[in-house]
Assembly symmetry: C2
Homo-oligomer: 328 residues x 2
Amino acid sequence: VNKITKTQTAELLKSWDNILVISHASPDGDTLGSATALIRGLEKIGKTCAFVCSDPVPEKFAYLFEKLSISKDFTMPKFAPDKIVTVDVADAKLMGKFREIYGDKVDLAIDHHATNTGFADKTWVKAESSAACEMIYELLVEMEIEIDKITADCLFTGISTDTGCFKHRNTTAKTHEIAAALMEMGADSFKINTSMFDTKTREQVLTEQKVMNSLEFFCDGRVAVVEIPQSLIKETGVLESDLEAIPSMTRQIEGVLIGITLKEKNESEVKASLRTGDLADSSEICGKFGGGGHQGAAGCAFYNMSLSETKHALIEECERYLKEIDKQ
Amino acid sequence: VNKITKTQTAELLKSWDNILVISHASPDGDTLGSATALIRGLEKIGKTCAFVCSDPVPEKFAYLFEKLSISKDFTMPKFAPDKIVTVDVADAKLMGKFREIYGDKVDLAIDHHATNTGFADKTWVKAESSAACEMIYELLVEMEIEIDKITADCLFTGISTDTGCFKHRNTTAKTHEIAAALMEMGADSFKINTSMFDTKTREQVLTEQKVMNSLEFFCDGRVAVVEIPQSLIKETGVLESDLEAIPSMTRQIEGVLIGITLKEKNESEVKASLRTGDLADSSEICGKFGGGGHQGAAGCAFYNMSLSETKHALIEECERYLKEIDKQ
């Protein structure tokens, strides 16, 4: 991996033009906030930019693109790019359908994932940053490019969403310092946080409600399980992204060490999402079933098993796992 | 009202000893964080302090009092105080049962409420502070008293809880700056935020679940109503404080302008809690029924009416109210 510094990144960008910025597929606030803030900064110093994303940009992020001169059709750049930059992309395969065209042509990757695979020609990684937007903030400061109100909104969005509104473990003193600076620059933190953390669609509320009605406790209340059958998804017409809040709703219950969400993807596949606090390791349990992830959040898939069979297999493994950690 | 500055407050405290610090009744993270951080600071410069609170300190705030030399029996100071200081108390009546003994003897009130009644001999108010803990932080810096790890935890707790983890409208750039400084001083933000915002008791989850099952929409989805009958409270054995999250769960639904929570207090009283976003005014609607509060959150009581009768009366008023604002 050809790792470079913030200063080298700034110098490269200053020397380039006709730059295509690519976010990761299934885009979130951080990859979109990074891309739009970077493009705004580069446009301020006269660069021509374009942006593509493999999946549609969710409506709630539309404000990030306001007043940008780039094309709003994110499926193809309107010019042949000279340079290609990815933001918040840890692996070329996360470029989705653009991997085939640009996967081996990325000139620069700006990323905060320690796991970045080094797919780009040059990579600036800062794993201690809570969000890629923290890095873009520091980059714009380094390049002495003014951060206007809307750029501050873009950067604040990425930092706030990637830290769960400053709640997750990745939040540092630096995160709060940058949030303070962005608010001074005009970021509308209240509006952004209300939209990201304090708004649910009616379908989302009703679906969460129905899913939580299936809540069961096992292993003396240390394991909580909820189920999302296909029939429920069809009945409520809920979007995949509307189910994202459910896994952590199981883990946040007092006494629960392992929260399990079982989703029936189709007739032959059940996906399990595990969430654990400090006292258990999701990835260890999912690893037993060929899955993976992090200590706090992991997943695995079960084929040709019913929801009920999946549940019993997982609970059996949890029982064994909890007995192990009880011994320690 | 005899208003004084931060510098004058610092000078007064330096010249005093045998200080009783009083928090408000039904104590929250800010009043307790302020009291414990102030006492820690004063003890560091050799002062003798005591603390009283009209209501028991909830278990989740016990860590604020760790390693403090004051008596853990908060019902009476173990010495006759020379000086009395209140923190985060906007009105003498919020001292609860200590109002009678100390209500007209308070030497200094430190408070961030613009509505402070001026009940104390001297008052330092800073309404732009998100939390009283922001003021105590600035006071300790002014007094050049070291803020150690546990004092930083106390101050972070007050700031985080009073801003809803940096989500509420009162959060400013200064709030984030102070949060950054406190984390540098050792505040364990992740642990505090997990305990305050990411932990629910089993009873709480099950009760919320049952209450949300009663969710109904009116006025083209612009009004959402949930009901908490007495029978449910008795059945689940849930604490009053475990119901606090429910009112905002109605308001956060997309399209809902007015969220209404109806709680059957006893056979003859129903309490309504209203929550509104930017587009409606809770206090105006509650005012029609002799209640009150703020634009975003207000309440009113109904006597000798059933839950269903209360609901219909409120919905009728909401219909009228929404027609009015539609005209504007």
